[in-house]
């Protein structure tokens, strides 16, 4: 609990600093495109009922996308990392496709999957998939051979090795990839929602922008920022639980 309150204090301090900076910047620039927090924050509160459903739509898209991307990438990546034969075949494919910016396929996804949830969930999941795949593969490769050997000496099967050694050893790296992935995921979400469809926070922001309703636009921006923070924090909490041994072993 002490850690939690320290964390809250940290967040409060950071929020205060950000607000002060925002306030100063908006005063300096003095443009309606960057309203002062004094205007934007009350607007955010008054728009809450309109924002909430959009936030729900956006949250669902990111979470669903990250879930399928991760669920597919982790076993595949770990398998590649532990099997020299599979790696020899698939690693070149992964390394050729990894640097390609997946977001350029957005139009393709839109044409194929329409304007609803599907293209967004597919595209974001696709991007998360690659990030986690490469990380999981490298993490599985880096598992200490001594750990594998010692568990094998106990009579462990390949499944046992995966369960007791490879998966837990790779977990911290996978979570790091996911946390970095949330940033990318939300950025892509914004892009996808702003281009196609009539719901989600991305659409809300661009829609308000089109109506030159800058305070509403900013309320949407704040909501999107909060979405990122919440996702990041949720991942952090799960990670702390799953990799408890790491924090204690300092």
């Amino acid at each position: 609990m002490n850690g939690l309150s320290r964390r809250l204090a940290g967040y409060l301090g950071a929020t205060a600093a950000l607000l002060a900076g925002w306030f100063a910047l908006s005063a300096l620039i003095d443009s309606p495109a960057l309203p002062s927090p004094v205007v934007a924050l009350p607007e955010f509160v008054s728009q809450a009922s309109a924002l909430l459903p959009e936030a729900g739509v956006s949250l669902w898209r990111v979470v669903a996308a990250m879930a399928w991307g991760t669920a597919l990438a982790v076993p595949l990546g770990l398998g590649l990392g532990r099997s020299a034969r599979a790696d020899a075949i698939f690693a070149p494919i992964v390394f050729l496709t990894y640097p390609v910016p997946k977001v350029v396929f957005l139009p393709v996804f839109l044409v194929l999957l329409g304007l609803g949830d599907a293209p967004k969930i597919a595209l974001i999941g696709f991007i998360v998939f690659f990030q986690v795949l490469v990380t999981a593969r490298d993490a599985a490769k880096a598992v200490p051979e001594a750990s594998v050997l010692s568990v094998r000496s106990l009579g462990a099967s390949r499944m046992d090795i995966a369960r007791y050694v490879v998966v837990p050893a790779a977990m911290p790296d996978i979570f790091t990839a996911l946390r970095i992935g949330t940033g990318t995921a939300i950025a892509v979400l914004f892009l996808a929602e702003s281009i196609a469809g009539t719901d989600g926070l991305g659409w809300y922001i661009v829609d308000a922008w089109g109506r030159i309703d800058y305070p509403a636009m900013f309320a949407g921006i704040i909501a999107m920022a909060l979405l990122g923070v919440v996702l990041y924090e949720a991942l952090d909490a799960v990670e702390a639980r799953v990799t408890r041994w790491r924090r204690l072993s300092r």
Partner: protein
């Protein structure tokens, strides 16, 4: 019937490019309930010999028998402790101790109970819920021992299990090992770089030649385990004798073999002379 028997065991590592012959027609045996120490120059194949004995490596030629049966893989009644203990940092002390049993199909409850008993034996009961990262080096070593004890093995293979410990902790754990062996009566192969440890814990000490390793000499050490052995003149004599044998294998002369082994032997000989 011997607990362990290697006949003509040859193993070549297919390294990067050229192969390295680590073992060449190695012959050695360990009787039931016998504690054996193995000592030899660095890189002579001691770890390889243990991995072969544990069934983790298959020899290119020759045969490995454990309790009279030809080894085809990992054997249930054999426990192996590696130099870095092979503990899993993400599992609690308790789960680590129970791991061997879990992997061998025991239920969570049953494995947990046996593991708790093993932890008690090595004096780690109160740390059951801690993680290995929270333990000292000596405690981690005790945990590795507990995991092996929990398996109720009749053959315990150890690769320099105490080499990372300070001299005092090391002596303490040597006594733990001796005590465990006395009570359980398992056969044991202890690979070590310390002359003193080899003599203290081996009823026979096998001296290996430089790579490819074979048994170059054997020191019979029947008085091992007797009360006060460590401070007896006989103990000292055996250490001196073993040291001369190792020198004969080129393990002690600077330049004659790998540089770091000289340091190791010099240190362990110094502690033989009574420097803790």
């Amino acid at each position: 019937m011997n607990a362990l028997e290697l006949t003509g065991v040859t193993l070549t590592y297919e390294g990067s490019g050229r192969g390295v012959r680590a073992l060449d027609a190695l012959v050695m045996s360990v009787e039931q309930g016998e504690p054996v120490s193995v000592i030899g120059p660095s890189g002579c194949g001691k770890s390889t010999m243990l991995l072969v004995s544990a069934g983790l490596l298959t020899p290119d030629e020759g045969e490995v028998l454990a309790a009279g049966r030809r080894l085809t893989g990992v054997r249930r009644e054999t426990a192996l402790i590696l130099q870095d203990y092979g503990l899993l940092p993400w599992k609690t002390v308790w789960d680590n101790a129970a791991l061997g049993l879990r992997v061998r199909g025991a239920s969570r409850k049953e494995a947990g109970e046996v593991a708790l008993g093993a932890l008690e034996r090595v004096g780690l009961l109160e740390f059951a819920r801690a993680y290995p990262g929270e333990l000292s080096g000596g405690m981690r070593q005790r945990l590795a021992l507990a995991r092996a004890v929990a398996l109720d093995a009749d053959l315990l293979l150890m690769d320099e299990p105490l080499s990372a410990l300070d001299a005092l902790t090391r002596e303490d754990l040597q006594d733990v090992l001796l005590d465990l062996w006395r009570r359980r009566g398992h056969a044991q192969v202890l690979v070590t770089h310390s002359i003193e440890e080899a003599v203290y814990l081996g009823r026979r000490v096998l001296v290996m030649s430089p790579r490819p390793g074979r048994i170059a000499a054997v020191v019979e050490n029947a008085e091992m385990g007797e009360a006060g052995f460590r401070s007896s003149a006989l103990f000292h004599e055996r250490c001196v004798w073993l040291r001369s044998l190792l020198a004969g294998e080129g393990a002690l002369h600077p330049g004659a073999s790998a540089g770091d082994s000289d340091v190791t032997y010099a240190e362990s000989t110094a502690s033989t002379g009574g420097v803790v």
